[in-house]
């Protein structure tokens, strides 16, 4: 067994190259220059092998901010040091074990973050939503409304994007307001609702944070009775009552933070971030839609209207559109929704929500 050999030593104070002889002693290495002066004595348990090419064993001191280095190129001396010092392993086994441990921890952290995305974010967003003051929610709503209008108003109609402003539309507007007020009076919402009909061909309606509801022209055209339209509006009022818009903004922010920043967009292009957001957010909202359906039926029941009309219009609209992927759909399966709604609805009683003349005017709300 070799007990000494040549090496190159840098003391960390200057960059001078010391050609040294390394002697393996009982407790550590003795590093001495050509004149037999001892330059350093390093204990075996303080040695650490640092990054170097394969044919060099470069040794530094563990937990030492200094930068003294010993470069060993002599294979026999390398082996001898390897045997003596626990922190040095030329076979790479030590490094592999450390690497495996670290990888295990990182994978565990990844699983934990995914669990946070699946369970943590909806629950945190839900709790934060109730803490958002009404004034801030209103502002959030205004900002979202401005953006939504820009996105939806593709034809650039501006002011005219809303139906019910023209001279021939005003009767329709009055009828629409009457219907909304009738629902709102029984809804017991914290803040007033602002509802508009907008010129969009799709049969849809959306609720924004802070109580703004957009009903699309296409929905008015598809609705056959006032109760069908009222059912959809009541569904949107359910979102307003449950503050789903605010919650969804918070969830989106949480997901963006988690996938965009913590995990990092590791493949670039943003596609993974967007995909993860879409899938997770639609999984959150499926439950929210079921709750809004229930709210709508309860509200319709309480004013003696036909709660099951919502099921009728949903089936008609849902049947018209192509079935998409469930994983991306933010609404639950239409058939299942309709069954749940019909089971909850009571038989209608009392006067209709608006009379036939008002309904006829409402149907013409977008006919400039």
């Amino acid at each position: 067994m070799t007990s000494s050999g040549p090496a190159v030593f840098y003391d960390g104070a200057t960059n001078e190259r010391h050609a040294v002889t390394v002697t393996l002693e009982a407790a550590g290495l003795r590093i001495a220059d050509a004149a037999q002066r001892t330059l350093a004595e390093w204990r075996y348990d303080h040695l650490e092998s640092v990054s170097a090419p394969d044919d060099v064993l470069r040794i530094g001191l563990l937990h030492d901010p200094g930068t003294a280095r010993l470069d060993v190129r002599d294979p026999e001396l390398m082996t001898a040091i390897d045997i003596k010092a626990e922190g040095i392993d030329r076979t790479g086994g030590l490094a592999r074990r450390q690497r495996a441990t670290v990888t295990g921890w990182i994978i565990a952290a990844t699983v934990l973050l995914l669990l946070v995305a699946w369970f943590g974010i909806p629950s945190i967003a839900g709790r934060l939503t109730s803490l958002v003051p009404a004034g801030l929610e209103r502002r959030l709503g205004d900002a979202v409304e401005m953006q939504t209008r820009t996105v939806l108003d593709t034809a650039g109609a501006g002011e005219n994007f809303e139906c019910g402003r023209g001279p021939r539309e005003q009767a329709g507007r009055a009828a629409f307001d009457k219907l909304v007020r009738r629902l709102e009076a029984n809804a017991g919402l914290a803040s007033p609702v602002r509802a508009f009909v907008v010129r969009r061909a799709e049969a849809n309606a959306i609720a924004l944070p802070g109580g703004t509801v957009f009903v699309f022209e296409g929905l008015i055209n598809q609705a056959r009775t006032p109760d069908e339209l009222a059912g959809v509006i009541a569904h949107e009022l359910g979102h307003v009552a449950h503050r789903d818009g605010t919650r969804s903004v918070l969830q989106g922010a949480g997901l963006s933070f988690l996938f965009g920043m913590v995990l990092g967009d590791f493949v670039g292009g943003g596609a993974v971030v967007i995909a993860a957001r879409t899938v997770l957010q639609s999984s959150y909202t499926r439950e929210v839609e079921t709750a809004a359906d229930a709210y709508s039926v309860d509200l319709m029941n309480s004013i003696g209207a036909d709660g099951s009309a919502l099921a009728a219009i949903l089936t008609r609209i849902g049947g018209a559109t192509e079935p998409g992927m469930k994983i991306l759909m933010d609404h639950p399966d239409t058939r299942q929704r309709a069954t749940t709604i019909r089971a909850r609805a009571e038989a209608p009683h009392g006067a209709p929500l608006i009379d036939a003349a008002d309904w006829a005017a409402l149907k013409r709300i977008c006919e400039q």
């Binding site: 280095r69 670290v102 990844t110 967009d265």
Partner: protein
């Protein structure tokens, strides 16, 4: 491929290319001893772990890559050492999150304000994040230098990151306004500032590259790209008519847009065609001259580096840079063919999963995972190939093409710089996605 492989296996031929009139002692050759095969292995393993850990592994991969490149760079018989660790990068990143979250939150709240602040917050936010990006770039360099050891001595960087960030941002703005014409002076300013504050032990660095030299060499390339770009752009401005666009897009649905344009303005299609042809020409030419530009800039940069009395001169050959990019393109093509072959069975599984009217949620989830997985694998393959070909070759070419004069003046340097700097700049750069290697 044979000639490319030959050039990879012949690092020893570089010193012999130096003019023989210069004594060998005055010029110390730099060698790069890293094997492409080991680098590939490191990157592929890293890409697999990136995928499994959704990117968290990036701190470990970056550290491995730097250790590899540094430790295989041998200057006058001694290897550089990268002494940073992945845990430092991770901690730096977590600290950066603590800084970034309040900033993003402030922007979010400012955007809610409909008034002037709200209107300004968008543009202001972008500008602020840009300056912050430049700030973190300076700190990143400080971290990497203070983790670079040569002969048992650290490099370090002082100077004011805020000054650098503001200066660099102003230069970027000027460069954007002049369509890149002031880029050489910007580079000169940035390198001068960085090198003036760079030290090896107690020895300060300098940068002597002049902006106008880079400008003169780069100007022909700029013209090659700019002329077709200008033609295309002016054709587009000529064709731009908000009224026509509004009419065309008014009922943007299934009917034929081209037919509608033809009907509104018969000459418009030709103008748009010319614009598209000229602009695609500009893009293709830009891609073709990019390696040349990179080689010019690299040579200019390397030849301007000074540490104490030591001077550097680069003999980088442009053909080698083109070879690196050609290798990149060749591997991309191979990889695309492999992916297409793999796509056949994948599509069959995909179809089987989604067949029928009422597909179970788990089948959809599996199909979505296949789709997303394919995308992730292709993107990771792209970046792996880029690093294994372009980054690797440029590092090798840059180091091996370098001749160092008066290297002997760096023989007795004393340590300085105190403790190594924190990795928070690395974290910020990561959060802002301006980091790089």
């Amino acid at each position: 491929m044979t000639s490319l492989d030959a050039s990879m296996d012949a690092p020893a031929s570089v010193p012999s290319r130096l003019p023989s009139s210069v004594p060998v002692t005055a010029r110390r050759p730099i060698r790069f001893t890293g094997q492409p095969r080991s680098y590939w292995r490191l990157l592929i393993r890293g890409a697999a772990l990136l995928m499994v850990t959704l990117g968290i592994y990036r701190f470990w991969l970056a550290t491995d890559v730097r250790r590899f490149l540094w430790s295989h760079t041998e200057i006058a018989g001694d290897n550089l050492e990268y002494s940073g660790t992945a845990v430092e990068l991770l901690i730096g990143f977590l600290c950066a999150l603590v800084i970034m979250v309040p900033i993003y939150l402030a922007f979010f709240l400012a955007a809610l304000d409909i008034g002037l602040i709200g209107a300004l917050s968008g543009g202001l936010g972008v500008a602020l994040l840009f300056v912050l990006g430049q700030y973190s770039i300076y700190l990143v360099r400080r971290y990497r230098l203070s983790r670079t050891l040569y002969r048992g001595l650290r490099f370090h960087q002082d100077g004011n990151a805020v000054v650098y960030a503001i200066g660099a941002s102003l230069w970027w703005a000027a460069t954007a306004l002049t369509l890149g014409l002031t880029l050489p002076w910007m580079q000169a300013w940035r390198e001068r500032y960085k090198m003036r504050h760079t030290y090896y032990g107690t020895v300060p660095g300098r940068f002597t590259g002049a902006g106008w030299r880079l400008f003169l060499r780069g100007l022909p390339l700029w013209l090659i790209v700019f002329v077709p770009f200008a033609i295309g752009f002016s054709a587009l401005t000529e064709a731009y008519d908000p009224e026509t666009i509004r009419l065309v897009l008014r009922k943007a649905s299934d009917d034929d847009i081209i037919a509608r344009i033809e009907q509104l303005d018969p000459g418009l299609i030709d103008t748009i065609g010319l614009a598209i042809a000229a602009l695609s020409m500009a893009v293709i030419l830009a891609g073709l001259v990019y390696p040349l530009f990179q080689s010019i800039q690299l040579r200019w940069w390397l030849s301007g580096l000074r540490i104490g009395e030591m001077t550097a001169r680069s003999h980088l050959r442009t053909a080698c840079v083109y070879a690196a990019y050609l290798r990149f393109v060749a591997y991309i093509l191979l990889c695309a063919i492999a992916l297409m072959l793999a796509a056949v069975p994948l599509l069959m599984v995909f179809g089987w999963l989604l067949q029928g009217d009422d597909v179970a949620l788990w089948r959809e989830a599996a199909a979505a995972l296949i789709g997303l997985g394919t995308y992730v694998v292709s993107m990771l393959a792209l970046s792996t190939i880029y690093h294994a070909t372009v980054t690797f070759s440029l590092w090798r070419l840059a180091t091996e093409s370098l001749a160092l004069d008066r290297f002997d003046t760096l023989e007795r340097v004393t340590a300085a710089g105190g403790r190594p700097s924190s990795a928070i700049g690395e974290g910020l750069a990561d959060a802002l996605q301006v980091g790089g290697l």
